[in-house]
Symmetry: C2
Subunit: 354 residues, 2 copies
């Protein structure tokens, strides 16, 4: 595959670039797929070691929305804004096809931050993680064995700290993080209820993921009543992926000493002004902890997590549902679909199988 | 003083009763001082041991506001609603004048939950705590050595967990809890900024309580700018006594890994509908913990706290400012004054000196 000497063979490299910064809901037209070319070797004479990765699977995650906005200087943002005209990026799974870094060699399967493109030249390969369990579907490393799985694991185990018998509520429960969070809480011996946005998803929660109960929040007229019906004794741990009205209702329904694990607030990402939360007062008499976290603080536990999660998957204790679209041309619409809940399970884009 | 045999001498007992349940700001007219009589011995033939306490100091605390409302059944309330026509209650300091409980004897000085009256017959004396440091002003056991002091101690040390060099912000900082919280954070080696509602209070923070900086929130047009001016590098610990707009502004100004110790939300207690908090989203990228707590969960550490706090007071490391009114007739107006910030320091009512 490699070209001789410094003259590398070239390949087509399709990439998704940001066309304009986004306000409100993102649209397919905010992105553009452009065609470039890439040399199939790390350029000779590079001053720092680098790794050329052929991207196999790209992950679509809600947190990317934050990077599509233009933030004011000094504003709290999860990561730098995407630059107009430049390739977007997110976690993905790839195969090393050339490397000048001693820790990586051609043929290695890795996951980590990568461009939304067919090939990515990674100049900071320390951010790439080698895939140990190649006997499992590689795509799992965009989800259950990758960033979203680690997010669920850290949120449930480190932030929520479940005790056997705890009552747990998970919103966006069939999504990439929610499905893993709920199943981990089940493994920890909790009673787990999920909310989702369609009857099909609710069915998935009960039949595939083993939730004790679930409801379709879109068909409930009274959200608080739905919580009371499914969790009459209240909530010990609320794993929040959506924020807004769901969080406000859950706050009222927390038990003494409860924990709200604030992982995401997808209902808020596209609003010009966020909804006002009115029920925070009740965290005082109930001694409730509301804790925001992000996965960046938990990569030190990745190895332990990978082994534990791979074992759960093999033992059938963690089921996985993925929503896979094919080809990089499908990436923008797949990403946009997250915000209307069109995906069923973990949303990812397959670019190549090897 | 005691009557012979079962026939106890009687004394006048003035008491503050709730006249009507409160919505919005409480008013003096919501309460009434009525005159009754009390036997000066625990009634003979009582089925459970009891303690008759002569109240010396009553504490006025914002949390009483919650008990003056009529809550819907099942609503989250800090404690049972006060009953119309019955004596209100709160923490206070008193002297045992008769006891049929083996652990208390006439002459003991105690603090704990007591009626808003001159004499209280306590049927659950386990809730009373004997006062060890009688060499310090007894009134301190309504505040710095009592419930509000323990609240500040638990909030700062157990919930906030300060590290040397942390940037700490305390709202309602000259109040009963705030003044102790800020000084404890100083002892822990933090840089401490307080907000208060008058220039006189701000002056007190800087000169008497040793805060590093302070501002009058009523004269600031831009609250966020005031925070930025006083804490240009952000906030590690926000000790929240007020909630509302102050909390919302502080959330935006938290540092990564910061802690919001939610002790009280006095700005919200008198609103029909609470203000909406709009900045909770930023706790995710900044991994901020927002933790409600109440002192009820921390009485197990009271002995340790009492010794430590008494030592700080004697060493001059903790200064105390009290706002004392005289006589039970003054109690209603003193309580109401808390909600307009009329008090300067810990508000209490002196009924008798011994």
């Amino acid at each position: 595959m490699a070209g001789g000497g410094d003259d590398a063979a070239a390949a087509r490299n399709k990439m998704v670039v940001l066309k304009r910064h986004v306000t409100g809901f993102p649209m397919e037209e905010d992105m553009e797929v452009v065609v470039g070319a890439v040399g199939l070797r790390v350029p000779a004479g590079s001053s720092t070691p680098a790794v050329l990765v052929k991207n196999l699977y790209l992950s679509c995650d809600p947190w990317m929305r934050g990077r599509m906005s233009k933030h004011d200087e000094g504003a709290t943002a999860p990561a730098p804004d995407f630059v107009i005209g430049e390739t977007m990026e997110n976690y993905g799974v790839g195969k090393v096809i050339d490397s000048t870094h001693p820790e990586f060699k051609s043929g290695d399967l890795v996951w980590g931050m990568s461009g939304w493109e067919e090939y990515t030249l990674v100049y900071q390969p320390e951010s790439l993680i080698k895939i140990n369990h190649t006997e499992l579907p590689l795509s799992y490393y965009t989800g259950v064995l990758g960033m979203t799985g680690l997010t669920a694991y850290a949120g449930v185990m480190e932030v929520g700290r479940p005790k056997r018998g705890d009552f747990v509520f998970v919103s966006a429960a069939s999504g990439a993080v929610g499905q893993v969070a709920g199943q981990l809480a089940k493994i920890a011996g909790c009673y787990v209820v999920g909310s989702a946005g369609s009857d099909e998803k609710v069915d998935l929660l009960k039949t595939k993921f083993g939730f004790d109960d679930a409801f379709n929040y879109k068909s409930e007229t009274d959200f608080a009543a739905a919580l009371k019906r499914c969790l009459p004794d209240g909530i010990d741990i609320y794993f929040d992926n959506v924020g807004g009205a769901t969080l406000d209702a859950a706050l009222l329904h927390m038990r003494h000493g409860g924990r709200v694990v604030v992982c995401g607030m997808i209902s808020q990402y596209n609003l010009e002004e966020p909804d006002g939360l009115r029920n925070m007062l009740c965290i005082i008499p109930k001694a409730v902890r509301v804790e925001g976290f992000n996965v960046a603080g938990y990569f030190h536990m990745y190895s332990r997590f990978e082994e534990e999660m791979a074992r759960y998957i093999k033992e059938g204790k963690i089921a996985v549902v993925e929503d896979v679209v094919e080809g990089i041309e499908s990436a923008p619409v797949a990403l946009v679909g997250l915000f209307s809940g069109r995906n069923l399970g973990k949303q990812l884009v397959a670019l190549a199988r090897e």
